[in-house]
């Protein structure tokens, strides 16, 4: 693994990957294999996340943490331009972007799907987002097949994992046996193949490949949660007045955690700021959430003043209207929204409750 990391570093990539910080596994700069959360696992449930030590020295023995990769391609805060006043006019100065070459090390299948989903939003519409595109174009992806399912994972329901299928340069499956610890590696692109030449390897035996496939199959059968996706869009469209929305609104704090940790949520706001003299102005784009009270504000008031309306907006967007907008579900089953909700609201449970008492 160190060889692979070194190969990336020598090619000038800024390598980002999982690392332990403040009792969670976050994505940050990696310079050595030792930065990885070796021997750690996570225990996740609604509103709960704990790191625990494993009996072995697995490099990737955990699910996903609070962050997703989106903060590197779709920055939480970025200046779009600044302007200087010139008499009664002003001069617009567009931003020159300094865009680093990024390598994501340890991307899970759900996250690959999330990337593809955000590609559809930012690159395949009538407009292309230059900020996202500049970072996405040069991205190198080393993916990982999950060796265990997290407590809130449901990628199997969303058909987004755990087996990595597309969108990677290299994909690793970690295999730990009593006497051996190795990786079965699949090459996805020519770029991945080129990287790989600097890593000591040999052809995998069919037994080793079977072992790797078996691990992933086991993961798929131990998902923490399940979401019934058949007809979910129509069910939600039909039940916009279901009493369950009122019920979940009693619990939801509209804290917006779910939208921050979600790997596909992309909403932003645009803020115009000036200095005290009024001579300089800047436009910033920052992450925003449909859970905020003034997200939907138009002259006189918000369209969605109640928490009920805002929770409904988020969930129906994620699971229903997203399909009409972009052709796929907006949810990849990573479970973050369940883990990181302070009151443990579970999107799979809400969907189940609504479908169960469908007001057909």
């Amino acid at each position: 693994m160190q060889h692979l990391l070194a190969a990336l570093l020598t090619r000038g990539y800024r390598v980002l990957g999982p690392t332990v910080r403040e009792n969670a596994i976050v994505y940050d700069t990696l310079t050595s294999v030792d930065d990885l959360p070796i021997g750690y696992t996570d225990e996740q449930d609604g509103g709960s996340y704990r790191l625990k030590r494993r009996a072995d020295q697995a490099l990737f023995g955990y699910a996903v943490g609070p962050q997703s990769w989106k903060s590197f391609l779709h920055p939480p805060s970025i200046r779009l331009w600044h302007a200087k006043r010139e008499g009664r006019s002003f001069q617009m100065i567009p931003e020159q972007q300094e865009v680093p070459k990024l390598a994501f090390f340890g991307v899970r299948s759900c996250e690959l799907h999330a990337l593809a989903i955000q590609d559809r939003v930012f690159l395949q519409g009538a407009y292309v987002d230059p900020v996202y595109q500049a970072r996405r174009d040069r991205l190198c992806i080393v993916a990982v097949n999950c060796g265990q399912a997290g407590g809130t994972c449901f990628c199997a329901s969303m058909e987004t994992g755990p087996q990595v299928t597309a969108g990677f340069d290299l994909a690793l499956t970690e295999v730990l046996q009593e006497d051996r610890h190795y990786f079965v590696i699949q090459i996805g692109t020519a770029a991945g193949a080129e990287l790989f030449h600097e890593v000591p390897y040999r052809e995998a035996s069919s037994e080793e490949i079977e072992r790797a496939e078996h691990i992933v199959k086991e993961t798929a059968e131990h998902m923490g949660r399940h979401l019934e996706t058949t007809g979910i869009k129509e069910t939600l469209y039909r039940n916009l007045d279901h009493p369950r929305w009122e019920e979940v609104a009693q619990r939801c704090l509209s804290c917006a955690n779910c939208t921050m940790v979600c790997p596909t949520c992309f909403c932003t706001t645009v803020e115009d700021v000036t200095d005290l003299t009024g001579q300089q102005a800047e436009r910033w784009r920052t992450w925003d959430s449909c859970f905020t009270a003034d997200f939907s504000y138009i002259s006189g008031g918000s369209i969605r003043p109640s928490v009920k309306a805002r929770y409904r907006q988020w969930m129906t967007h994620k699971l229903a209207t997203w399909i009409d907008q972009f052709g796929t579900s907006g949810c990849v089953g990573c479970g973050r929204c369940i883990t990181w909700c302070p009151v443990g609201i579970d999107i799979t449970e809400e969907a189940r409750a609504i479908a169960k008492e469908d007001t057909r």
């Binding site: 645009v270 115009d272 002259s299």
Partner: protein
């Protein structure tokens, strides 16, 4: 769909020309590109994002003639800091303009049919480019009916123009206000009353409706009751907008992004959304 040729998040500079106060709380402002070029082409129904240096940016529909590209014309209602700042501009001040964004009124679809245009309050402003367009090609259309409503007579927009349109023989103009003093000799009541009295062939009509959401809903329902197909009734919707290009997510209305799937929609597509609260 017409889209801007330049980076859509960077405003182009325009200089303020004439400003006219229309009513107590609305003004009409004319802008010209600062570099002396013509206003980029736009379709009636589209909108711009107007930026006042140091104050902020808001979406405002086009209000001018799409064929006259010397000036960019916007009618603005003062409801917040940016709209107030726009109405307080002085001739010669610069503003930033991003656009045009959105889709347009179905003027081409209306060819060969009767056209009913309904503007409630400020709704007349986004409709005006379509009125200009339809009158400029008058021979293409059957009957043309323009119905306007306002809170009171002093809130009527474009009063001089309304009088000029009213004086034409090839256009029916109906005006109604919410309440008035006895000095007003016109209609008082709700705009739906004008719809039922107007002369047009519902089976062969395209209707374009703009105004507060409740007004558009009830007008569309009345038009449908009179026999106009829901696919031929068009509304211009409004939601919070930050980017105008489908990325910020604020303007979502059900599955639609008002900025790129709208702001003009067929009534048949909005029927279930319009009756839902807080959508």
């Amino acid at each position: 769909m017409i889209v801007p040729a330049v980076n859509p998040m960077v405003p182009q500079l325009y200089r303020t020309g004439r400003i006219r106060r229309e009513t107590l709380d609305t003004c009409t402002v004319e802008f010209e590109p600062e570099d002396g070029s013509k206003v980029p082409p736009f379709a009636s129904g589209q909108f711009n994002m107007l930026y006042v240096f140091g104050v902020g940016e808001i979406p405002v529909s086009m209000s001018g003639d799409p064929t006259r590209r010397e000036k960019l014309i916007h009618t603005i209602r003062m409801v917040g800091p940016v709209s107030k700042a726009l109405c307080e501009l002085k001739r010669g001040d610069s503003v930033g303009v991003r656009g045009p964004f959105g889709n347009g009124w179905p003027v081409e679809l209306a060819a060969g049919k009767d056209v009913v245009l309904v503007g409630g309050g400020l709704g007349l402003a986004p409709l005006r480019p379509a009125i200009y367009q339809v009158l400029a090609g008058r021979e293409k259309y059957g009957k043309i009916v323009l119905l306007c409503s306002a809170h009171t007579p002093s809130y009527l927009l474009y009063q001089r123009e309304l009088e000029a349109w009213r004086a034409r023989f090839d256009l029916e103009v109906g005006v109604i206000v919410g309440h008035a003093t006895s000095a007003w000799r016109g209609n008082v009541g709700y705009v739906t009353k004008l719809v039922s009295k107007a002369a047009f062939d519902p089976a062969n009509t395209v209707a374009m409706v703009c105004g507060p959401e409740v007004l558009m809903r009830s007008t569309a329902a009345e038009l449908e009751k009179q026999g106009v197909a829901a696919e031929h009734i068009f509304l211009s919707m409004e939601r919070n907008m930050k980017c105008g290009i489908g990325f910020c997510g604020h303007c979502q209305y059900g599955p639609y992004f008002i900025c790129k799937d709208g702001p003009v929609f067929q009534y048949s597509h909005l029927r279930t959304l319009l009756v839902k609260g807080e959508i």
